[in-house]
């Protein structure tokens, strides 16, 4: 479930990035890297888990699934937080700089 959540996040972010490419004013590219990196790593984790559990891997307990979904959504939220911090730090549109300068005037 964690893998599925991050894969969906990665696909949505890639589609959003492609829509505006080659312009990347909102730095969506960063989100793509984060989610694809995590998706690949969780995929490896899933392969090793499958090798251990075999068919049982596909029939998790509902409580376990819910916890994994909760974890996946939290991981997506953390990725968004990292992206917002990066976006505000880089300030590609110069909006923060402008807002601060306007306040001073």
């Amino acid at each position: 479930m964690t893998l599925l959540t991050t894969v969906f996040a990665a696909v949505i972010c890639t589609a959003l990035w492609y829509k505006n490419a080659p312009k990347d004013e909102m730095k969506i590219g960063i989100l793509c890297w984060i989610y694809w990196g995590a998706s690949l790593m969780w995929f490896v984790d899933a392969v090793f888990e499958y090798a251990e559990l075999k068919a049982a891997f596909f029939t998790p307990a509902p409580a376990e699934m819910l916890n994994d979904l909760y974890l996946g959504l939290s991981a997506v939220a953390l990725g968004l937080v990292i992206w917002v911090v990066f976006l505000l730090a880089k300030d590609p549109r110069g909006a923060i700089k402008e807002a601060l300068l306007h306040k001073k005037q």
């Binding site: 964690t2 984060i34 990196g37 995929f43």
Partner: protein
């Protein structure tokens, strides 16, 4: 247990390599080494940054998962598995198998991306004035 450590270490090494490549490219540009054909290609430092971002982003989210499962603590030795020898051996085994496999897969995907970008660059170079 600590599988994310392997890609995180690789990310640090790649970040250093990307920085070094960027400095070299900057020097070459200032010395007039950059030609028209060089400008058509994506710099190595940029390509390395793709790998760094994937490894760092993935490791950060995986580290969060380990915090979620109580495998990372805020106090020494930071990894709960490092508390006793049996768990440490299991953790090292996981790093050597799952961790290495994660790093290898991410690097392999990045390698495939490089092949695709190289093909696009070659195709663009062949087309007159770079227009398809």
């Amino acid at each position: 247990m600590a599988c994310f450590v392997v890609p995180a270490v690789e990310a640090i090494v790649i970040a250093a390599a990307a920085k070094s490549a960027q400095v070299k490219e900057e020097k070459a540009r200032l010395n007039g080494g950059e030609t028209f054909t060089v400008r058509e290609k994506i710099p190595l430092s940029r390509k390395l940054k793709w790998l760094r971002n994937m490894l760092l982003g993935g490791s950060a989210l995986l580290a969060f998962e380990h915090v979620w499962h109580g495998e990372i603590t805020a106090w020494f030795p930071f990894l709960t598995a490092a508390g006793n020898p049996a768990d440490t051996a299991e953790m090292l085994h996981e790093m050597a198998t799952v961790g290495v496999a994660m790093a290898v897969l991410v690097t392999a995907v990045w390698g495939c991306m490089l092949l695709v970008t190289d093909a696009i660059e070659k195709r663009t170079a062949k087309t007159p004035s770079g227009v398809n």
